[in-house]
């Protein structure tokens, strides 16, 4: 009874309050997303990743850093005792992958938290003010877009020194330009709208207009883009780790684990294969989710 009532409250054509309208909109988005099977798979994978990261301590059967007996437990093939086998330091690979999810989530989360506001800030300001502000900001953006992302991130890490913090900074520095372009394009369509003119006539300050009225309208398309980019962020981070520039040993970063398993690939295939499967599944999940979100939130892009 209450369920049906709350559903009616959410889907009403005449919301009584701003909150009700917002919740209703979110619920409609959810209903549309729920119909997309691949997006649901993607959401499931993302939830599992988050749960893995939270409960890694309870789920992991062994210590991720401290290995077992080097004489008897090195490079064991997958078995019931070690579901994904052990690596050359006799560490349980499953436990390392479980703990590694924390690093993956940290990278994705921090890059999103750093790059999204920077992109929104640059893009909305460029789009709102136009003129030379726009020209200068977009020129800077274009220069960052002129390098392939991984190569620029490599150069930054080379200068900053290897390590997971510097890898996150480097990826964030190289991720914001597409968001700035997107936010600018959205702002250009919004800035001449009547409601913006009305706010301006009331004497609102530019900063207030941008923050309170332009940014919220750009947010949904930027969020979709960030979600679509998360797979790319994971792959870039893994690439940096593979080249030895990301997380340093003995941290269980997935890309670095593949690099460690590289020399055993012919005889002990599982050492490099297992972390690769983890990266693959997680970025596939983000791709599915991003694709689905784009279809739901941005009907223009639907093909």
């Amino acid at each position: 009874m209450t369920l049906i009532a709350s559903r009616e409250w959410l889907l009403t054509e005449q919301p009584a309050s701003r909150g009700q309208a917002r919740f209703g909109q979110a619920y409609r988005t959810w209903l549309a997303l729920r119909g997309n099977r691949l997006a649901m798979v993607g959401l499931g994978i993302t939830v599992v990743l988050i749960l893995m990261a939270i409960f890694a301590g309870m789920l992991a059967p062994y210590d991720p850093v401290q290995g077992g007996d080097l004489r008897t437990e090195r490079l064991l093939a997958p078995s019931w005792a070690h579901l994904m086998g052990t690596d050359d330091l006799a560490r349980d690979i499953l436990s390392r992958i479980l703990y590694g999810s924390r690093i993956t989530l940290l990278v994705v989360g921090l890059v999103a938290v750093i790059a999204t506001p920077v992109g929104l800030f640059v893009g909305t300001i460029a789009g709102y003010f136009g003129g030379w502000v726009d020209t200068v900001l977009m020129r800077v953006t274009d220069i960052f877009l002129a390098f392939p992302q991984l190569v620029l991130a490599l150069a930054f890490v080379a200068a900053l020194g290897p390590g997971i913090e510097n890898a996150i900074i480097a990826i964030a520095i190289t991720s914001w330009p597409p968001y700035a372009r997107l936010a600018r394009a959205e702002t250009l369509t919004i800035r001449d709208a009547d409601h913006i003119a009305a706010i301006r006539l009331q004497g609102a300050h530019s900063a207030r207009i941008i923050w309170g009225h332009v940014v919220p309208l750009c947010l949904s398309s930027v969020i979709v883009r960030v979600t679509l980019d998360m797979a790319g962020i994971i792959l870039t981070a893994a690439g940096l780790g593979f080249l030895g520039l990301g997380a340093q040993p003995p941290q269980p970063e997935w890309g670095a684990m593949i690099a460690e398993g590289r020399q055993f690939i012919i005889d002990d295939w599982w050492v490099a294969t297992m972390p690769g499967i983890a990266i693959f599944i997680v970025s596939l999940g983000f791709n599915f989710l991003g694709d689905g979100l784009r279809d739901v939130l941005d009907p223009k892009a639907r093909k």
Partner: protein, 354 residues
């Protein structure tokens, strides 16, 4: 929207619009290249705590340290240092590599053909498979074959390329023995081939060294198909959406009404109109391959620009790292410009409007 876009057409007198567009593109290329220099300068001089140490390494003597300190002009203000740097790069001086003790530009000249060869074969494979796959997916929109192309594309977007490379080596080289392993050519042939263009396949063919040629082919097959797969993912996706756009146009209905065969409608009428934006896509993914090449070359011990970059990273050879970054950036920007120029010449509407 810049002011140039909304200027009335007549203002520029007799100059054809496409020439103006070309000029604008070239100007923006020059500006972007200057920006690239600024970025590599900032990375090389401002970000490291001690640029001298980053350049000479921590085993250098005090006198060598001081000499480099003066040579980098670190006693001068930053803007002057930047001008010195720009001047050096414009004269083809990218500094000296610590690792090889040779000028970085010479090193890059030696390794670049290997990358060019790899990415060219890759883009050919990616285009030859990607465009038909995209057309097919568009024609059978929503059916199983469309889903298969879509999933294959998403897999390409999701799998780490270095991991697929390792698995490929394990399966096709170690287990099945279908292809040759890492490197460009077997050591037995390595000294038979004289370097003319630096492109192994071309050099072998020029000399008529067919056994060496086929050996080189079996070496390039795996890394090139792998890289090609990644560009195929992008190309097929874009082909599909361009084709869907064209197939919904009225001229297609007209052609159907006239009784033109379905194959002709798809492959001649629609594909030719989709071809113009597709050229841009192919050029862009050619540039994107430079990025994939860094990781692929590392896995396959392919002695190109990517491996040069990662080797230099491993020994903290900043001059080489920044030189390689700059060259990759410049190649990327030039390819983007090229795609714009091609677009101008292929699409009569853009050519007229400018």
């Amino acid at each position: 929207m810049t002011t140039a876009d909304i200027e009335p057409e007549g203002r520029h007198g007799a100059l054809p619009p496409w020439l103006l567009r070309l000029g604008r593109l070239l100007l923006s290329l020059v500006f972007t290249l200057f920006g690239l220099l600024l970025v590599t300068f900032v990375i090389g001089r401002v970000v490291p705590i001690d640029p001298v140490l980053a350049s000479v390494g921590d085993r250098a003597s005090a006198s060598a340290y001081h000499a480099v300190y003066l040579k980098l002009g670190l006693d001068k203000p930053v803007w002057e240092q930047f001008l010195i740097y720009v001047n050096q790069v414009l004269h083809g001086n990218l500094g000296e590599s610590v690792l090889t003790s040779r000028p970085v530009l010479d090193d890059i000249r030696d390794v670049f053909p290997a990358t060019l060869e790899l990415s060219t074969v890759a883009i050919l494979l990616g285009t030859l498979v990607g465009i038909p796959a995209g057309v097919w997916a568009a024609v059978r929109q929503g059916r199983l074959s469309d889903q298969i192309v879509r999933i294959l594309g998403l897999v390409g977007y999701s799998a780490p390329i270095f991991w697929l490379g390792l698995l490929g080596l394990l399966l096709f080289y170690a287990k099945l023995g279908w292809v040759s392993g890492p490197g460009r050519i077997d050591i037995a042939y390595e000294f038979d081939v004289t370097r003319v263009t630096g492109l192994m396949l071309v050099d072998c063919a020029l000399e008529g060294q067919w056994p060496a040629f086929w050996n080189a082919v079996s070496h390039i097959m795996l890394p090139a198909s792998l890289l090609g797969y990644y560009s195929m993912a992008y190309i097929s996706r874009m082909t599909r959406s361009f084709m869907l756009q064209e197939l919904g146009q009225e001229y297609i209905i007209t052609a159907r009404v006239k009784g033109v065969s379905e194959a002709r409608i798809v492959w001649v009428h629609a594909l030719r109109n989709a071809a113009v934006p597709l050229v841009t896509v192919v050029a862009l993914s050619y540039g994107g391959l430079l990025q994939g090449a860094v990781l692929t070359e590392t896995v396959f011990a392919w002695p190109g620009l990517g491996m040069y970059l990662t080797n230099s990273l491993g020994s903290a050879d900043m001059n080489a790292v920044l030189g390689a970054t700059l060259v990759i950036g410049a190649a990327f920007v030039t390819l983007n410009l090229l795609s714009d120029v091609l677009y101008t010449f292929l699409d009569p509407r853009v050519r007229r409007r400018g």
